[in-house]
C-alpha cells in the first residue's frame, strides 16, 4: 500500500510536468494544425536557462528561497516565451501558406538546431543543478512525501487552472478558441489571427520553459537531449487527451505520468518508456481522437 501511494504521488508529479509541456503542443496544434517539434527543446532550454540564472545570480541567496525561485521562474518563462515568438516568426510564419509538410520539416529543423545549440553552449554531458532545495519530506496520509513533489504538482495545477480560466472566461481566450475552430471566420469577427498565433507561442513555450525549470529543480540534472524524451512523452499525452483540446492535455499528461509510474513500479522499470508509447499506440487504435478530443477527425 505504501508503494502504491508513493507511486501515485510520483506519477502525479511526473504527469504534471508532461501536462505542462503537452499544453504547448496542443495549443499550437489547435490554432495552426502544426506539431511544433521544437517544443521539447524549448523545454530543455528552459531547464538550462534556469541553471545559468541560478548559478550566476544566486537569487535564492539574495531574495530568500521562495521569492528567489519565483523571480527565477518568471525570468525563465519570459525568456522562453521570447524564444517561442522568434521561433514562430522565423520558422513557421513564412510557411503558413505552404503545404503542411513543409512546416513539419521546418519544426524538425528548428528542434535539431536548438538541441545542437544547447550542446555547443553547455556541452554534451549532464549538468547538475545546485542543491538549493530542502530535501525535507512531509507526512501525508501516513507516508513520507518529498516536499518538492508536492510543490511540482501544486505549481503545475495553478498554472493549468490559470490557463483554463483565461481561455474559457476572457475575451482574448474566447478569441483564441474561435481562431482554433475557424481562422477565416475569426478574422470576420475582427480577430487578428496573427496576434492569436503569437499569443499561443508566448503561452505554450512559457509553460514548457517553466516545466523545464521544474524538472531541473526536481531531478537535479539536465541534459541537452532531454527535450526529445520529455517532448515525445508530452506529445503522447496531448494525443492521449485529444490534440487541440486544452483540458485533454492536462488529463492526458497526468494519466501518462501515472501509467509510467505504476508500470515501472509493478511491472518493469526497464519498460517504462514502452508503457508510455504503448498507451499512444493503444489510443491511436481505439480512439484516435483522444479521450476528450472530437474535432480532429472532422477537421483533417
Amino acid at each position: 500500500m505504501e508503494q502504491f501511494f508513493q507511486q501515485l504521488t510520483n506519477g502525479l508529479a511526473v504527469g504534471s510536468i508532461y501536462a505542462l509541456i503537452a499544453l504547448g503542443y496542443t495549443m499550437v496544434y489547435g490554432v495552426l494544425r502544426l506539431i511544433n517539434f521544437a517544443h521539447g527543446d524549448l523545454f530543455s532550454l528552459g531547464a538550462y536557462l534556469g541553471l545559468t540564472l541560478l548559478t550566476s545570480f544566486a537569487l535564492q541567496g539574495r531574495l530568500g528561497l521562495a521569492l528567489g525561485l519565483l523571480v527565477l521562474a518568471v525570468m525563465v518563462m519570459g525568456l522562453i516565451a521570447v524564444v517561442g515568438v522568434v521561433l514562430e516568426r522565423a520558422a513557421y510564419r513564412p510557411l503558413r501558406d505552404s503545404p503542411r509538410l513543409s512546416a513539419v520539416v521546418s519544426a524538425l529543423g528548428a528542434s535539431i538546431f536548438l538541441q545542437n545549440a544547447l550542446m555547443l553552449v553547455y556541452g554534451a554531458r549532464y549538468q547538475v543543478y545546485p542543491d538549493i532545495l530542502p530535501q525535507a519530506s512531509i507526512r501525508l496520509l501516513g507516508l513520507d512525501v518529498p516536499v518538492m513533489r508536492i510543490v511540482v504538482v501544486l505549481v503545475a495545477v495553478v498554472m493549468m487552472a490559470g490557463l483554463y480560466v483565461f481561455v474559457q472566461k476572457t475575451r482574448t481566450g474566447t478569441a483564441m478558441r474561435a481562431a482554433a475552430i475557424d481562422q477565416d471566420a475569426a478574422s470576420l469577427m475582427g480577430i487578428d489571427v496573427n496576434r492569436v498565433v503569437r499569443l499561443v507561442f508566448v503561452i505554450g513555450p512559457a509553460l514548457g520553459g517553466g516545466a523545464g525549470l521544474l524538472v531541473g529543480l526536481y531531478y537535479g540534472q539536465v541534459g541537452f537531449t532531454m527535450g526529445w524524451s520529455y517532448g515525445m512523452k508530452a506529445f503522447t499525452a496531448a494525443i492521449l487527451g485529444g490534440i487541440g483540446n486544452i483540458p485533454g492535455a492536462m488529463v492526458g499528461g497526468l494519466l501518462l505520468g501515472l501509467v509510467e509510474a505504476f508500470g515501472a513500479a509493478y511491472l518493469s522499470l526497464a519498460w517504462k518508456d514502452a508503457f508510455a508509447f504503448g498507451v499512444l499506440i493503444l489510443i491511436l487504435i481505439v480512439r484516435p481522437s483522444g479521450l476528450l478530443g472530437e474535432r480532429v477527425a472532422e477537421k483533417i
Partner: protein, 243 residues
C-alpha cells in the same frame, strides 16, 4: 448622387495562376440592398471574400466610405463597418450561441451599445435568445443561419455582406429570413450586399442587382427591371411560364 458606401473598381482575384475575377466594378450606396446573382463559380463568393479582406486581390481597388480599404487587413475591416455572414455559415460550432454573438461584437467596447444590439438581434431572431446556452453546432440549419446573420450584426456594421443565406433551407424559412433582412435594412439602415442562388427571392428583396458570369459582371440595374428581363428570366428564374 452621393458617393457609394462600398465600391470596387476593376477588382481582380487569382487562385494560383487562374484568374477568378476579371475586373469587377460594384457600387453600393448607403441604405441599399444590392444582390449579386449568378451560377456556381461565377465569382460571387470570391467578390465578397475580397471585400472582406480574406482574399488579396491581384488588381483593382476597393473603396469603403470613399477611402481605399485595400491595405486594411481583414480583421480591421470589421472595425471600418464591413461585416460578413459567410458561405456555409461558419458559426463556431463548439462554442455556445451566446459566445458566438459575443465574438460578433469582438471589435466593440461600448457595453451599452453591445447590449442594445443583442436585444435587437434577439427580437429579430427570438430562437437565439431561447438557445443562448446551447452549443451552436447543435442548432438546426435555419437557426445556424440566423446565428450567422445575428453574429455579423453584433459588429454594428454599416454594410452587411451575406453569402447564400438561403442555402439548404426550407422555402418557408427562406421567406422568413428574407423578411428579416428587409427589417434589418429598413429599421437599422444597414446596407446589404446579398449573394444568392435563389434569384427570385433575391430580386424581390433587393433594390438593385448585378448578374455575374464567370468572373465578370454581365448585367446590372434595378432589381424590378432585371426581374422582367427575358435573359435573366431564362437563365435564373426558370423561364417566364413559371414566373
Amino acid at each position: 448622387m452621393a458617393a457609394p458606401l462600398l465600391e470596387t473598381r476593376g477588382l481582380r482575384v487569382k487562385y494560383g495562376n487562374v484568374e477568378a475575377l476579371h475586373g469587377i466594378d460594384l457600387a453600393v450606396h448607403a441604405g441599399e440592398i444590392v444582390t449579386l446573382l449568378g451560377a456556381n463559380g461565377a465569382g460571387k463568393s470570391t467578390t465578397l471574400r475580397a471585400i472582406s479582406g480574406l482574399l488579396r486581390p491581384s488588381g483593382g481597388e476597393i473603396y469603403f466610405d470613399g477611402r481605399p480599404a485595400d491595405g486594411t487587413p481583414a480583421h480591421e475591416r470589421v472595425r471600418l463597418g464591413i461585416a460578413q455572414a459567410p458561405e456555409g455559415r461558419r458559426i463556431f460550432g463548439t462554442l455556445t450561441v451566446q459566445e458566438n454573438l459575443d465574438l460578433g461584437a469582438f471589435t466593440r467596447t461600448d457595453r451599452d451599445g453591445i447590449a442594445a444590439s443583442q436585444a435587437w438581434i434577439h427580437r429579430l431572431f427570438p430562437v437565439l435568445e431561447a438557445r443562448r446556452a446551447q452549443l451552436a453546432g447543435t442548432l438546426s440549419g435555419g437557426e445556424q443561419q440566423m446565428l450567422a446573420i445575428g453574429r455579423a450584426l453584433m459588429a454594428k456594421p454599416r454594410v452587411l455582406l451575406l453569402d447564400e443565406p438561403s442555402l439548404g433551407l426550407a422555402p418557408l424559412l427562406v421567406k422568413s429570413i428574407f423578411r428579416t433582412l428587409r427589417t434589418i435594412n429598413e429599421e437599422a439602415g444597414v446596407t446589404v450586399v446579398l449573394v444568392e442562388q435563389n434569384a427570385r427571392a433575391a430580386l424581390k428583396l433587393a433594390h438593385r442587382a448585378y448578374v455575374m458570369e464567370v468572373g465578370r459582371i454581365v448585367l446590372e440595374g434595378p432589381a424590378a427591371e432585371l426581374a422582367s428581363d427575358p435573359k435573366v428570366q431564362a437563365a435564373y428564374l426558370g423561364g417566364k411560364a413559371r414566373g
